[in-house]
Amino acid sequence: MSDSSTSFKVNLVAADRPVWSGEATYAVIPAQSGGMGILINHEPILTVVAKGEVRVKPTQGDDVYFEVNDGFAAFDSNKLTIAVEQCTKGEAK
């Protein structure tokens, strides 16, 4: 069950395909100045994504990791969109 009071929508897309989408309670994106954590009701933001690792904590199941390369992320009305050039599934560290 997704709890709408603690979770938000995450949509991770690469240039050639959609990668992951679903409900999450927490996400970390590699902004240029370092990792940026996003929780529900974060202020609307549009940020440049550098090379790094995206971590998403879904409402159910284990955290998912992705290696991403160059792109940007937008968060508004509890919907996080991460659009990157390249994306591969990463490993938990």
């Binding site: 690469a14 202020e43 549009l46 940020t47 940007f72 937008a74 969109t81 050039e85």
Partner: protein, 310 residues
């Protein structure tokens, strides 16, 4: 009889051609599904970029060269034609080339100096054969253009656009491509890609959205964004990707059109080959019948002659 043999060999060769056409048609049909799914897969990314562009435009006073070229009277413009790598696609490449030629002469009349960029082996060989100056060409993958191709092309075109006029920079960029409307209809379009003109949602479209029960009213106003690290840097990061994703879109819809027109052309070719086989078979039968009739006449008349002598 010689003519019968000739008919037979023509029928045989037409039959093998018909088989090839049929196979090509089936190959094209299977590629269509692939081209469609690739286009669908790329859609979320371009949607995300469009959304980001909309919010950037709504919240920043944009003065980026991509929107407005500083050198207004630079006559150099770039024209990019998207053609096919292989033939057997009916009028696909020739209609692209016709439109491109029309555009080039229109630009010439306006006192501009068009530079040509060509994608696809057929278009490249057309211009090479005619010794025309082509600025840059790309070949391969016209039926399944990947992100890498779009990246290469958009980088080259943006470089040309960003260069100052004195160094051979261009002030506008046109793309001639084929829009995939449906399996039967594909339309050649000319798109002015640069400088970018952002299409904001018109009132009519909003009403249409509202009628469909989609988000209405205040949801349409983009929220107040924070830009990280700064609006300019976000703009610098998003804009080239916007152009790249638009070019990729053009390549994808062209690839789908190419495959569809190849399928149509091969279908027509198969039909024509079958018609030809029918006609040749009729002629073969007629000629065989004629030779039988002639033999019969000869036998009967010689028998008649013999019986008269008795």
């Amino acid at each position: 009889m010689a003519s019968q043999l000739a008919f037979k060999s023509r029928i045989e060769s037409t039959q093998s051609l018909a088989k090839i056409f049929k196979a090509q048609e089936m190959i094209a049909a299977s590629h269509i599904a692939k081209a469609r799914s690739v286009a669908l897969d790329a859609k979320p990314y371009s949607d995300a970029i469009d959304d980001a562009m909309m919010s950037l435009v709504a919240h920043t006073k944009i003065s980026h060269p991509i929107f407005e070229k500083k050198e207004k009277n630079n006559p150099n413009v770039a024209v990019m034609a998207i053609t096919a790598d292989r033939g057997m696609a009916g009028a696909y490449t020739s209609s692209i080339i016709r439109e491109t030629e029309g555009l080039l002469s229109r630009l010439d009349q306006d006192g501009k100096k068009p530079e040509l960029y060509v994608f696809g082996r057929r278009g490249v060989s057309y211009y090479k054969y005619r010794n025309r100056d082509v600025e840059q060409t790309w070949e391969g993958d016209s039926d399944k253009p990947g992100v890498e191709v779009a990246e290469k092309i958009s980088k080259a075109l943006l470089d040309a656009y960003m260069k100052p006029a004195a160094k051979g920079g261009v002030s506008e960029l046109y793309i001639v491509f084929t829009e995939f409307i449906n399996m039967v209809v594909q339309k050649v379009r000319i798109l002015r890609m640069l400088p970018v003109e952002l299409v904001e949602h018109s009132d009519a479209e909003q009403e249409a959205d509202a009628a469909l029960g989609e988000t209405v009213g205040q949801d349409k106003i983009p929220p107040l964004y924070t830009f990280e690290p700064s609006a300019e840097e976000v703009l610098d990061a998003v804009l080239p990707r916007y152009v790249q994703s638009r070019i990729h879109e053009c390549l994808l819809t062209s690839a789908a059109s190419e495959t569809a027109s190849r399928q149509n052309a091969m279908h027509t070719a198969t039909d024509n080959a079958n018609d030809l086989i029918d006609e040749l078979t009729r002629k073969l039968n007629a000629s065989r019948q004629a030779s039988i009739t002639q033999e019969l006449t000869e036998i009967i008349s010689s028998a008649d002659a013999l019986s008269k002598e008795e």
